[in-house]
């Protein structure tokens, strides 16, 4: 069954990891914005996919998928209400960012699942 507590823990850990590692990365003088954003995207959605699949072994893909959607939704709300960016006026942008989030998260969940299956096979 779907473990809701572990699911929210995975979201929290992924947000914390993003904050800490982005803070550390900001000490490195980086020329391009694009590279920084790419690293952040992979870090956030990759870690939520990894931890959700790791802590929810019965339904790894659902947990990773919903986790990515939750984090993307939180970021939309934050940019709408705190930074006053009108993200909801651009449906294509929302669809694009949700698709990237889901793809990265599911790829990491798939990797975690394969890794676990391989290790269980080696143990037996």
């Amino acid at each position: 069954m779907f473990n809701t507590m572990k699911f929210f823990q995975a979201i929290g850990v992924s947000i914390l990891l993003t904050i800490v590692i982005s803070f550390l990365l900001s000490f490195i003088p980086m020329e391009s914005y694009g590279l920084f954003l790419l690293i952040q995207t992979i870090l956030t959605y990759g870690s939520v996919g990894l931890f959700a699949a790791k802590w929810n072994p019965e339904t790894p893909y659902t947990a990773a998928y919903l986790g990515a959607i939750m984090i993307a939704f939180i970021s939309f709300l934050l940019s709408h209400f705190v930074f006053n960016i009108l993200v909801f006026a651009d449906p294509e942008g929302i669809a694009r960012s949700l698709s990237y989030a889901v793809i990265v998260s599911l790829l990491f969940a798939c990797g975690t699942d394969l890794f676990r299956k391989k290790r269980e096979g080696a143990l037996q």
Binding site: M1, T62, Y65, L66, I69, F73, V87, F88, A89, L98
Partner: protein, 150 residues
């Protein structure tokens, strides 16, 4: 209802038979909102043989109602709502649709687990991924025709 009835492999009768073409046309017209209705059509038989409560019909009720609401807005919203409002509603619709897909695949794969446990049906996971509800209905129709012949 007694469980011995299931074990004699007769429970497939409980699932209503439905022509795939009709199903396809209905879901095309309603832009996918029909999938929720399909789950409610088979609600009794799903709850009858799935021992664990894996499919949440309370959630499905909300999702069906909201998807019909968005369908209504899609057709008639332009008459009353401004462009900015329509763009906002479209973004909410996209968010909702992503959640709908998540719930759909969760339910479908749990349904597959209990179907494979209870009957001798074998469901291919890749075909299930691409044709979800239609593939399950196709397999159930097959079960119907074989049980009638025997």
């Amino acid at each position: 209802m007694n469980k011995s009835f299931i074990n004699e492999n007769q429970f497939s009768v409980d699932f209503k038979k439905l022509n795939l073409l009709v199903m396809f046309v209905l879901s095309f017209i309603t832009m996918g909102a029909y999938i929720g209705i399909w789950f409610f059509r088979n609600r009794d038989s799903i709850q009858y043989f799935a021992y664990k409560p894996t499919i949440h019909f309370g959630l499905w009720r909300w999702f069906t109602v909201i998807s019909f609401f968005f369908l209504f807005i899609h057709f008639f919203g332009g008459l009353a709502i401004s462009d900015y409002g329509m763009a906002n509603l479209e973004s909410y619709e996209i968010l909702f649709n992503f959640c709908f897909i998540g719930l759909l695949y969760y339910s479908i794969f749990r349904l597959r687990e209990s179907l494979e446990e209870e009957t001798d049906l074998v469901l291919n996971k890749y075909l299930l991924f691409f044709f979800h509800v239609f593939y399950i209905q196709f397999k159930l129709n097959q079960l119907h025709s074989t049980s009638k012949q025997s």
